[in-house]
Symmetry: C2
Subunit: 257 residues, 2 copies
């Protein structure tokens, strides 16, 4: 019987530490110039981190499944599946911007029960688990703002929106205090800590969003797709995170088709 606090949390912490070490060794190093010329930035660093994480998971929890950005899926034998994004925010990573992070989620059946957003350069780590989200071990909580006009909105880039998504995002933007681009997974940490109220994104993969769910929800926020449905491995790639249920309802009304 696995205990989330006693077994999973220390292990996830080790994984994040190990991933951060690899990322920091490569960050702002000439090596990156080579990777810049790859078709996908930092693919080699991504793979190195994911390989390392998969080896540790296989050694410690041999029956667990693994889904990652870079390598083929490992089918599990039981209830648990790890979902990994070694470096979320690769464009930031290759241009020396310190907001990229490692995302680690553990699913129990299809439900994410642990989420880690680790920002190695800034030494900031959000962990969502069992009713609590922490930033570097201090409990954090989302904003109490419930009016869209007082809420701030993040997205990584307008380039993530299709021509169908763009007007819906613009409609939401127009109701908010302001919108801000460029934070990748860091925006969800800022939301969990009460500094921003909304993040709306699209074109996301499960490894991009699964770890965000426990971080946002256990801090008091709500996170779904743009139709208000829970995020699953088969979601459509849209993500809406809101500081509280009221804001989520109001934002959803703008984003719905």
């Amino acid at each position: 019987m696995i205990d989330l606090h006693d077994d999973i949390l220390p292990f996830a912490t080790e994984l994040a530490d190990a991933a951060g070490e690899v990322a920091l060794r490569a960050f702002r190093k000439p090596l990156n110039v080579e990777h810049k010329r790859d078709s996908s930035p930092v693919t080699a660093i991504d793979r190195e981190i994911e390989q390392l994480a998969r080896e540790r998971i296989a050694a410690r929890f041999p029956g667990h499944g693994v889904r990652g950005e870079e390598l083929p899926d490992t089918a599990g034998e039981g209830a648990y599946t790890w979902v990994l994004d070694p470096i979320d925010g690769t464009k930031g990573f290759v241009t020396g911007r310190p907001l990229f992070g490692t995302l680690i989620a553990l699913l129990e059946h299809s439900r994410p029960v642990l989420g880690v957003i680790d920002i190695p350069v800034l030494a900031e780590r959000w962990v969502g688990l069992s009713g609590t989200t922490t930033l570097n071990a201090a409990v954090c909580a989302t904003s109490a703002v419930t009016a869209l006009a007082e809420a701030t909105l993040y997205a990584s880039s307008p380039d993530m929106f299709s021509s169908a998504h763009s007007p819906r995002f613009d409609r939401l933007s127009a109701q908010t205090r302001f919108r801000c681009f460029g934070a990748d997974c860091y925006a969800y940490g800022l939301l969990a800590s009460g500094h921003t109220e909304l993040v709306a994104e699209a074109d996301m993969q499960p490894y991009d969003y699964m770890a965000l769910v426990p971080v946002v929800e256990n801090a008091g926020g709500v996170i779904t797709d743009w139709n208000g449905a829970a995020l699953t491995m088969a979601s459509d790639g849209t993500v809406l995170a809101a500081a509280n249920p009221t804001l989520h309802r109001l934002a959803l009304a703008c984003l719905r088709d």
Copy 2:
């Protein structure tokens, strides 16, 4: 007779230290929530920093002019004018994102001879002066990439572009390796340190760009408006920074009207 290295540099360093202290005291504090409801975010913190800087300049260099974001211009009696942006990246500041910075420039007649980009949360300070740009006292140099297809491009937000600017920015974007949003003044530091090759922005004020000029130029880069003209207090608000003259020429060809 004022010496840039012996008189101005230590003084500018003190100004940046003092500004950073005020900004850090207010960063991620509940105080910000109040300011979020102002018409302009963090106006009070901006003013406090600019007031403090103006008092120090008046005490140490009583004949110098001062141009800042928040308070009325102070006319100088001689060749020197300070140009200040207490908090560049206010939207990032009020949402807890640590990439905001203080910008300090000194103009000799109309030419910026000193530029400081100070990022207090990250303890990163770029200083451009007399042929050298440093990041935390270590000399830095721009990227040697000379092909647009290998260059990365930054802008703070697509929302800074008018309908006239937007297609020109998109034209440049399409030629680059990729574009990335959301770094404010930090993007110019990344360019000076060789991590990104291009920054193209618009709707900028003199206090937004004057400090960038010595940082970019003394690291080996080129910075002008979108027509290739030197940046002055009367520029049109467009800014193009490139890692080297070749990239600048190629980018300018995309951005020209």
